[in-house]
Symmetry: C2
Subunit: 446 residues, 2 copies
């Protein structure tokens, strides 16, 4: 390979120290999901195009595959890369239903691809961490409480700004819009969804001209979109608007349940926010969006909701509820704005120096003894002057250098050098593996 290649816009890659931050994020999310009893799953990266194109709105973003020299027998014709982890998960559930135990709790951390115009937080290749519960025929409502709590626990375990999960309910919104006399609630949803972009006056105009609402009804819908609370007081505000519909009542009761129980378990995490419209057209119950406090402009870093038919084989339907953490979107901000850093760029806690090349085997024996005790280390590349070997460690952030000649280990930060036996010496626990920390601790939790 010759010549200096350029990076590809929308296909992010990290440097080694940044990758340590990403890996730590993924490890933390995984641990939280597993502590909550969600099983890991990965699906293949490709799906048949007809599966991928069911959600018509994004068909122009799908990457289609072909083999470079495909013949007429091309078995891979009609395959595309998945653009999320929900479509493959639904397909996996149908394909393996006979081998799965329901309710099925799974998490999935994988890459997905969309041919979108790249910008901060939007990539063509990105990593998502999805967590879902899917059941056969019926899905209990308490999972609509559990999912945002699990995701909130994972987010709060990361050194990032405080997450706020906004929830709304499809039935509440649709019932409300029917209650004010809308003929097509989906049109009202689409208009209200533009609130942040075009403002209340333009939305009111749309509600009248396109959704056919009266001026009063339009005003009432806008008033609904202004209701939000961390406690269940939002329900009184909704009732005060004087709209009545059985579907509204059902949705309101569900949303009260979610906000009440989540508020008990994790105060300050989950907020009812009746402005949330995105996703209401394909979810059937609770919907979720998440912003990071102080970084609201980034948009939702974690979204999801309840599907009454996540999958169906024609006779049995599989309702599900889940959320998807936009790992790449969060990392794009966290690393792009230097909010979190790793303590070093390599796993090694110790560099074992080499006095002369004939003694390399001695250094390797020390390294093997340290590794056997769970201490990551590497042996110096060459028997250079010690000063140069120490610089080798320093440039990578390796805190300790081991000298076999006199059996000493030096903390190169403090300069302290002590006699040590590789069968017994331990580094301070925070030094054993690389750690990550926020650069602006006042903005972030743990």
């Amino acid at each position: 390979m010759a010549g200096r290649p350029a990076s590809l816009s929308g296909f992010p890659e990290w440097l080694p120290a940044e990758r340590i931050v990403e890996l730590s994020f993924l490890d933390t999310i995984r641990r939280t999901f597993e502590l909550n009893g969600f099983a890991s799953l990965e699906t293949r990266s490709v799906e048949p195009l007809d599966q991928l194109l069911r959600k018509g709105e994004i068909d122009n973003e799908v990457y289609v595959l072909r083999r470079l020299h495909a013949g007429a027998d091309d078995a891979d014709a009609g395959l595309g890369l998945h653009f999320d982890l929900t479509v493959p998960f639904a397909r996996y559930v149908l394909e393996n239903a006979g081998h799965l135990q329901f309710p099925f709790r799974r998490y999935q951390m994988q890459r997905a691809w969309r041919g979108e115009r790249p910008q901060e937080g939007r990539y063509r290749e990105f990593v998502q961490a999805d967590v879902d519960v899917v059941d056969r025929a019926e899905l209990a409502g308490h999972y609509e409480v559990e999912i945002p709590l699990v995701v909130g626990a994972a987010m709060r375990a990361l050194p990032i700004p405080e997450p706020v999960i906004s929830v709304n309910n499809r039935k509440l919104a649709e019932g409300f819009f029917l209650g004010v006399g809308a003929a097509d609630p989906a049109q009202v949803l689409r208009a209200v969804d533009k609130l942040a972009k075009i403002g209340p006056d333009a939305v009111t105009a749309l509600l009248v001209t396109e959704a056919g609402l009266s001026a009063v009804a339009a005003k009432t819908c806008l008033a609904l979109a202004g209701i939000a609370s961390f406690d269940t007081s939002f329900a009184d505000d909704v009732v005060a608007l004087g709209v009545s519909h059985p579907m509204l009542d059902e949705g309101l009761a569900e949303l009260v349940h979610v906000v009440e129980r989540a508020g008990e378990a994790a105060p300050g995490l989950v907020m009812a926010d009746l402005r949330i419209a995105r996703g209401l057209d394909y979810y059937t119950g609770t919907v979720y969006e998440t912003v990071l406090t102080g970084y609201e402009g980034l948009g939702s870093v974690c979204s999801g909701g309840r599907y009454d038919s996540l999958a169906s084989d024609g006779t049995v339907r599989y309702p599900g509820v889940g959320m998807s953490i936009g790992v790449s979107r969060i990392l794009g901000v966290v690393l792009g704005r230097d909010l979190v850093r790793a303590s070093r760029s390599v796993p090694s806690c110790v560099l074992v120096a080499v006095a002369d090349e004939d003694g390399r085997a001695d250094s390797e024996r020390v390294a093997a003894a340290l590794r056997a005790r769970g201490i990551p280390c590497e042996v110096a590349p060459a028997a250079a002057k010690y000063g140069r070997q120490i610089r080798h460690a320093d440039r990578r952030g390796i805190p300790f250098v081991w000298f076999t000649a006199d059996s000493t280990v030096k903390d190169i930060r403090s300069g302290e050098q002590v006699h040590a036996d590789p069968a017994h010496w331990d580094p301070p626990e925070p030094d054993r593996w690389p750690t990550i920390a926020p650069t602006r601790p006042e903005e972030s939790r743990p």
Copy 2:
């Protein structure tokens, strides 16, 4: 999504209990690499086609991407999915050379794609675990010893049949072939590479007719291919063949060094095997192949070698040495033949039962207390009869059921039920997380 979809040949997916085995394998490999001071890296999944097609031999296996509704401005035209992790790594090194510390030790566990005809151990989408050291200008020879030792340590930490890493050396083979008078050593290599497939007589014929060797020289080359040993005695066998060439001497010295040092550090792992020809045409020094004892028919599960120019920007070249563990190939055998099983299909160690739906919050508090102490658990989906809740746990292999009503926890395997406080109770350590174990322990190591 409706209708029962079929799985795609060559795109493997695992069931939850199988995924636990895969995850455990990946965790073990990662830990070994990190204990040895290799930094994690991931690269994007796509590369420009001109980068991917430099190794002409496999161009028909590349998957090319296009956006479904791409216009004339398609910025993604000319991108393909990587077919290995070496091409992207070489590109990454060039692109980021100014930000990396050399020698650069990295591992990379990712998916790759090839449009190959699927068969056991050969997939169209697969996971590889690569480990490489790359340096600027010069790369020390001791890394040719270290790489197979690190890979061997990772493989030996897995519950799989004993690995044997066969090594050969490009200079040894090329020098030897030049020494017997071959005009084009690459032609000799290609003929010898067919030994296993077409047998010695046919190879001899090829060496005479296509590589232009004398009958005596052809016989000598076949004799070389018959030499193998776990110690350095292979060198005497080579010398006894009476062939002389400076490049042969250099390669022989390098191979002796690798076999000698590896034999001291990890007896029985690394074998000189002068039959190994695959890869000799693009590697420049040591080459590696690995078989699992008793599963030799599967072919190499782990290959690699030394490149004197892994990458080059025209002025600086970056020599490297590395190996790639075929994780999917190994798992295909291990799971396909049921050689390893997980202790359960979910992370949960405890199912917290629910006495009645009004008491669900009590069960959730117990679960939260257990999780805070690192015990994975889930709460029962419904306040069904206890027998049914116990069956829920049993079907997933969850060993313990917790009853909040009388504060007891039951080991559903033994039936033993004891009073317990979620702030103090601990499961036996082997039960805390799922574990994996070989089904035929006599065949495997640890």
